[in-house]
Structure formats: C-alpha cells, structure tokens
Subunit: 229 residues, 2 copies
DNA sequence: ATTCCAACCAATGTCCACATTGGTTGGAAT
DNA sequence: ATTCCAACCAATGTGGACATTGGTTGGAAT
C-alpha cells in the first residue's frame, strides 16, 4: 500500500484529464503518448510529466509495449499467483472460508430447489461410501460445489472457485493426510449429513451453525497437523 | 452442476489411473493420447473409451489442441467473465460484500499498525474534502483498499480485488450517481469516520457494526436507484 | 541552462505459418 | 459385426518476424 498523498495536481495532469473526459475512451486505454501529445499540442516530455503525476496519484498506470490505462495496475497473474500461494497461511484460508461458507448454506436453505437437495444428499451418500481418499475428495468437492450453486448467487460461486484455486499444496496435502483415516472421514460425513438435514428442514440458522461446526472441525485438523507432519 | 453419478468404473479407466499413478505427471497434464496408448500397449480407441469414462466422472478434462488434464475444467475467463457480469445482480454483490467486509474491519481492529491507522485516517479525510465524484471515488477506493490490507490476510486482499473487478457497469454507475450529491457523500464520510474511530479504539465488534451500517446505507442507495435511474 | 526534437531501446502486441492434440471417419483385418 | 489402424479435421500451442509503445538519451534550438 503506497501512502503517496499529494498536495496539488500538476497543471498538465489537469489538462490531460479535461481533454480525455470529453472524448470517449475505449477499454480504459489512453491514446499513445505520441498521439496524445500531438492532440493536446504539447511536447511529449511535458505530457509525460503530467502522466507521471497521474500515475503517482493512482489514477492511471503505464507499461512499456502495452500502453497507458485508467484505474489501478492489474496484478500479474503468472508470478503473482505463485508468490501468493506461499504467502497464504492455512489460517488465512480458514478465516476466509469461515466468512462466507456458513452464509452460503443459510442462503441455500432458503433458495435451494427440491431437486438440488436430492442431488446434494446423493453426493453426501457417495462421499460416505468412498473407499479411497481420492474418491472421497471427488464427492466432497461435488458436495461443496453443489452447495454454493444452491445459494443462487453467481458471484458467490466465482468467489468460491477463486478461493479453492488458492489452496496451496501444503494445506491441501495436510488435509488430505487427515482424510486418509476412515474414522476422520466418517466425522466429516456426519457433519455433511447435519447440513443436509437442516437444509431439507429449511432452517437457515441451523444449517449455518452446522457448517460452522464442520469448518471448526477442519480447522482443528489443519492446525493440529504442522506438529505431526 | 452436472449430476452424473456413475455406478462402476470402466476397466480401461482403472488401467489408466494405475499406470499414471506410477510415473510423475507434470502440471496435471497427461501424455497425448497417441503416446499414452503406445505406453499402455492398447489401441487409441480403447484408451479413449476409458478417458471418456474418467471425464464423465470429473476426474479429468480434455480439449482439442490443449491436451488432457487432471482435475475439473477451468472456466474460460474471456467470455465467461463478460457473461458473468450480466448475471450478477446488485443484490448478489451486496450479499457477498456483507459477508466479509464487516469481518475485515473486525480483523483490522486487532491487527492494524499505528502507521496504517494514520494512513487510513488520511484517506478518509481526503475523501471528505473531495470536490468531484471521481476524486471522491479515488480516495474512497484507497480507503477500502487500505482497510483490507490491515486485516493481514493476503488471500482476503485477493478476494476483495476479485469481487471489486466483478462490479458491473450498471451497479457502478448507479452508486456513482448517488455519490454525485455532496450530501450523500457526507453521509458516507461520517460512516468512514465511525469505522476509523472504532479501529483506533481497537474495538472489533464496534468496528464491525460500523461497517455493517455503512454497507446497509449503500444497499439502500443501490436498491432505491433502479426506480429513479 | 532549459526546452524541444528526433532517434533509439526494450518490452509488448500482432500476425502468420507450422507443429501438436483431441475428435472423427472410412476402410482393412479378424 | 467388431476391432484395429491410418488418415484427416478443427482447435490450440509455438515460435519467429514485424509493428507498436512507454522509457531514455543526445544533440539542436532558444
């Protein structure tokens, strides 16, 4: 977080903003520096002074070969995501999941269709009868994915997808090791059933609480692991 | 959500899984069909029968020109995101923000440094003295971005970035229209100050409540708008 | 000394031909 | 009839040549 707080706006910066607010800008992209300088009737160096000011202000961002754009610089996904996964602790992940997963089931209790509830129940049953860890994971994944679909919130689905994609190998492997025990999986399956039961009874508060219990169980397993593993 | 629930696993599918679990697979990518068929000593048609089974099971996904990969098919971001923005209602967006923004300030109250609190206060002050809507938006954005940084949760920052990116033009424009009124902006600024005050007093519950009040205010404005706009 | 201009640099986008890959078809072998 | 094989198809990845663009430099003009 850069804490650049500027006092006054550069004259050229004001001129740029005024000129651009008149014409339509496509895809947040400004014209190339050479062209924009010609349009404004100023020298390129002068224009760049103004652009630098606007960039420091966070109004726009520039990159060689790409161009100049309004808004804040989008993070590079290639190296960015890899670095990010290392920065995310299991605690971080659980904090986030605790924020919206209970709410998801509360919404699901109010909005799910009968067919969806039956599908969810089928996934829970499949997870219970799974013999291998990978098979359990397969049905558990489908269970949670079906759950968020029942919330009828397209954005929420994407957010869950995003968070799931952020699970780093460390966290994933740790949880997987715990699921290796059939007894442990049985506990999770019981909690799945509690959630399904509350959803079928259309009890949002109860369903929410059941999911909180489930996540707290997972949290205990994850935080217990680093000592053992 | 496809509800394909299969009964038994294809013999060839089992053979494929067994063979691949022995060698190391790079980047979740399976060898090309031709090569894999040769390695397994089976015909390509037979191999494909097994792969189709595994694909239906959700174990892997395939695409012409790309290859065959483990895991679930990643959604295409190009057309997917554009379609998604149309599907997201203002209600969807607010539901999601209500889920974690209050929690963010609760975490911030416990974890923020003194320097960060000062920076936050500065942004709130800048937003209050803003004369234009765009200037207000600039500082308001920095305010909320500083807030989530204070939660010390890298994943949470990325989630907020993701959600912010999903704001469609309709929602954005509607809120902007309401901010056009200086009186309206003053209300928001008062609420910002309440949040800052609670954070400086290190009162998580109070800060959380202040953010809830702020979001409820925004929600009222957004839901009131469609009739007027 | 400062400003302006043109050229140059390195990073990126764009376009193209070519190799790769999953999907499909038709005949040969059994 | 079924299975196998080879070729072909369309979509995608890959790599290179070339244009575009922000960043930089050095001399000319004032």
């Amino acid at each position: 977080m850069s804490s650049i707080i500027l006092q006054r706006r550069h004259p050229m910066a004001t001129k740029i903003v005024e000129f651009l607010s008149e014409g339509e800008i496509k895809n947040n992209r400004l014209p190339p520096e050479r062209e924009l300088a010609r349009s404004l009737g100023v020298t390129r160096a002068g224009l760049r002074a103004g652009l630098e000011h606007l960039e420091a202000e966070g109004v726009l961002w520039r990159h060689v070969g790409k161009g100049t754009f309004f808004g804040r610089r989008p993070e590079e996904i290639s190296a960015g995501l890899l670095d990010l996964r290392k920065k995310i602790s299991p605690q971080n992940l659980l904090e986030v999941r605790m924020m919206f997963e209970p709410q998801i089931v509360a919404l699901a209790a109010m909005r799910a269709s009968g067919a969806e509830l039956e599908e969810l129940e089928a996934y829970a049953a499949r997870a219970r009868t799974a013999e291998t860890v990978t098979e359990y994971e397969n049905w558990d994944d489908k269970f949670h994915r079906c759950l968020v679909a029942m919330s009828k919130n397209a954005l929420l689905e994407k957010v869950v997808d995003f968070v799931d994609g952020m699970r780093n190998a460390q966290v994933w492997g740790t949880l997987k090791a715990h699921c290796a025990s059939p007894a442990r999986r049985a506990v999770y399956c019981d909690q799945h059933d509690s959630i399904v039961k509350a959803l079928m009874a259309r009890q949002p508060a109860e369903a929410k609480r059941a999911m909180e219990v489930h996540l707290e169980e997972i949290q205990r397993d994850l935080l217990r692991a680093p000592d053992a593993g």
